[in-house]
Symmetry: C2
DNA sequence: GGTCGAGTTCAAATTTTATTGAACTTTGCT
DNA sequence: AGCAAAGTTCAATAAAATTTGAACTCGACC
């Protein structure tokens, strides 16, 4: 019977818009765009699988956003595609396996950054070696070692996280 | 002897600007503003503690940015303040304890979101109870239970993370 | 009490990021 | 093959986040 959680919404029930809002907050923390939270959120509260056209209509977002949002969610393994209900379109359900979601996020969003970080550390190593002043070089060496230990820990913690969150 | 890693920089050595660049990437992943990475990065490669005025000059950022960046870093426990070198100003060093950094980040950036998420779940509970249709209510109940399990896991994993990353 | 330098605040400007929408490509049907 | 709906792409636009800078507060010193 009530409307408008934060902003005006289209024809969503309060259950739907509040759930969507929950996921919007969630994905923002993870650094993903709002529309991704809206899409996953709506799929999460929907009993029936939805098509891209359904998402565009119910969420009031553009076809472009829906397409890109679905691509990202697919890449993270956050969707189940359902075939056969209708010939032409693809229907989507929210993948409910936390293990899968966490794994996909780590693979798609975290790992690439850690990799490029490692590359930067390699570059830094080369730079340190060129430093003339002995005292400075020693200092930089130490700091760089520390960074490498941090990076290593980061890499090691991911599978742990994955295992702990997986069900 | 070389200059400009990504963009033009002021009077920083290559070691400094590359380290700063490393931390800029790092903090971006964590959802913090670039200037915070610049500040922490410069402190991290500096042997001597630096004042806010030093940061403004070496990084070429505004006093406002420096002030806000330092505030955030202080709130995360990422700084050690050094007194007594000079009367007037405060000098800063990078806190090098990963345990402290991770703890501060969790306390300052993660926990608050989890808390507000929990509140939203409570609201959702109330909404679910009002749903008329029995089948729908059951379905929503289930989903909400799942969200709550996820949230709980999230809360449980933090101390684990902290313990594992702490040294 | 007046002045000076350090540090803070916040509205405005800038930069970055996300969204839109129209043109395009792909797919599947007849 | 020809058509129509589904889905993608990306330059332009809108929205959000960050940075700036000028005005302010605070405290120490004379």
């Amino acid at each position: 019977m009530s409307e408008a959680v934060t902003d005006s919404n289209p024809g969503l029930t309060e259950m739907e818009s509040r759930t969507i809002s929950y996921f919007c907050d969630g994905v923002k923390v993870l650094g993903l765009p709002r529309s991704v939270g809206e899409i996953y959120g709506l799929l999460f509260v929907s009993r029936e699988p939805l098509s891209m056209a359904d998402l565009v209509e119910k969420l009031g977002i553009s076809k472009g956003s829906a397409s890109q949002g679905l691509r990202l969610l697919r890449a993270l393994g956050a969707l189940n595609e359902v075939k056969g209900i209708d010939e032409r379109r693809t229907y989507f359900k929210a993948n409910m396996s936390l293990k899968r979601l966490v794994g996909g996020f780590i693979r798609g969003q975290i790992r690439p950054h850690l990799r490029s970080g490692e590359e930067k550390l390699d570059q830094l190593h080369m730079i340190v070696e060129e430093v003339e002043d002995e005292e400075s070089r020693k200092f930089y060496q130490e700091r760089l070692d520390k960074l490498e230990r941090w990076s290593k820990r980061g890499q090691m913690v991911l599978p742990l996280l994955q295992r702990f969150l997986g069900e």
